[in-house]
């Protein structure tokens, strides 16, 4: 029986790139949808607000695994035969991260003091100007540390994409393990690669947070 070798490491390296790619898709897609939901969540129109609350509650209240299964089987029901696994995984992770990012960003938008919103209105800025010139520049500073922190969650959760047949790092580990059966070595290496991706992000997030809280030290 072959043992763990450079060939396997190379395979894991490629899979790690897919993990990064899927994370990027999830972050960009989730960011766009999540920002829209965050805006809906603080909108003055009541039904928009309730729709956003419902969306966030549903996404945060069901496991990502179930969400992925639903999309996987749902796409087949909708009549598409051959669906690329990347699409199914990308859609699932986009929905998942949008639900969490929306709630994080809502908090950041609302943490901009109310007087700032009122002052912008008094200066006759349009809602668009108020958002882009006054609120967002302040909210984004607050939003950066938790957003980077959430990136770690996204990277870790791409490991669940294996259930829809997407070969990323965890699935690659499983495949290698099936052929050489050295689970301890294989999954330790897989864990080490995840750690190498996530740890710098966590550290960065913590540093940003410290910088933000300088005044409170």
């Amino acid at each position: 029986m072959p043992s763990f070798s450079l060939v396997h490491l190379e395979f894991l390296g490629w899979a790690a790139l897919w993990t990064l790619g899927l994370s990027a898709i999830a972050f960009i897609g989730g960011g766009l949808v999540g920002f829209a939901v965050a805006l809906m969540r603080i909108s003055p129109i009541r039904w928009l607000r309730y729709a956003a609350i419902g969306y966030i509650q549903i996404v945060q209240g069901t496991p990502l695994l179930i969400l992925l299964f639903l999309i996987y089987f749902g796409i087949a029901i909708a009549g598409f035969q051959e669906v690329p696994a990347l699409l199914a995984a990308g859609v699932g992770l986009t929905i998942y991260s949008s639900g969490f990012l929306a709630e994080i960003w809502r908090g950041c938008l609302q943490s901009v003091p109310k007087t700032q919103w009122e002052a912008a209105e008094c200066l006759a800025l349009t809602p668009w100007q108020r958002m882009t010139r006054v609120i967002l520049p302040q909210a984004m500073r607050i939003a950066t540390p938790p957003t980077v922190g959430f990136l770690v969650q996204i990277v870790k959760n791409t490991s669940l994409a294996s259930v829809v047949g997407f070969v990323e790092l965890a699935q690659a580990g499983k495949l290698i393990n099936n052929s050489i059966f050295e689970p301890f070595t294989v999954f330790m290496v897989v864990a080490a690669i995840y750690f190498a991706i996530c740890f710098p992000l966590s550290t960065w997030s913590r540093r940003l947070e410290r910088k933000l809280n300088v005044s409170r030290r």
Binding site: Q57, I58, Q60, G61, T62, P63, L64, L65, I66, L67, F69, L70, F73, G74, I77, A78, G79, V152, K156, N157, S159, L160, S162, V163, A170, G173, K174, N177, E182, P183, F184, F187, M188, V190, A191, Y194, F195, C198, F199, S202
Partner: protein
């Protein structure tokens, strides 16, 4: 779309869905309690232990928080087996979940411990409280009371994350769902039902932990103020 939704064939399976939900609750409850104990001990060790304990706890927390639960579950289940120790899927699931949530609990409780003001400790010292008394009455209880909302969210997430253990065929709701959908070929409907059950469970867990908080933190309930 020509697909006909058919939930009726799932009716026959309601005892199994219920059983699965109950198993998930049990799995989460055991992991929550053990994880809380582990995490609190680690937080205390990190705050007041000797340097090597601090280092050990810090590495444990960083390693767990920066690797996916799925891989941790695989390492516990398949990895321990190759070391010659045989554990059942359910035991492996509990071990992995406890180790996982222990690290998160440690971080949260540590924030609580740090929030206890120094003057409180000095006051307790002046009142002649012993070290264990100070620990229990002045540090741990107020600290946990303060971070209780964060802990609640973490344990709801744990309940949802326990679905991952279906990947090593531990007995819980998602594993039950996988079995039912391969029986009925009604995959989409099955996972919709299970999604709704998880949604309900997350409300149940949230409310349960809230009631537990009311029962445990008497001072807060009577005075109605934050610490």
């Amino acid at each position: 779309m020509t697909y006909q939704f058919d939930f009726s064939s799932l009716w026959a399976y309601w005892p199994e869905f219920l059983q699965g939900a109950w198993l998930t609750l049990q799995l989460s409850a055991v992991s929550t309690v053990l994880g809380f104990v582990l995490g609190t001990l680690c937080a205390i060790g990190r705050a007041d232990g000797p340097p090597w304990v601090k280092f050990l706890v810090a590495s444990y927390v960083e390693v767990i928080r920066n690797t996916p639960l799925l891989v941790q579950v695989f390492i516990v289940y398949f990895g321990i087996a190759t070391l010659g120790i045989k554990v059942s899927a359910n035991a492996a699931a509990v071990i992995a979940l406890v180790v996982n949530v222990g690290a998160y609990t440690c971080e949260i409780v540590r924030a609580g411990l740090e929030s206890v003001h120094k003057s409180q400790l000095e006051a307790a010292d002046c009142l002649g409280l012993s070290k264990p008394q100070i620990y229990w009455h002045v540090i741990i209880r107020p600290a946990i009371e303060r971070v209780y909302p964060a802990l609640t969210s973490q344990y709801v997430l744990l309940m949802l994350a326990s679905s991952i253990t279906s990947q090593i065929s531990a007995e819980e709701l998602t594993a039950v769902a996988n079995r039912i959908q391969s029986d009925t070929f009604r995959s989409f409907e099955t996972y919709i039902v299970v999604g709704i059950i998880y949604l309900a469970l997350s409300f149940v867990v949230r409310i349960g932990l809230w009631l537990f908080g009311l029962a445990v933190f008497v001072r807060k309930r009577k005075l109605g103020t934050a610490l």
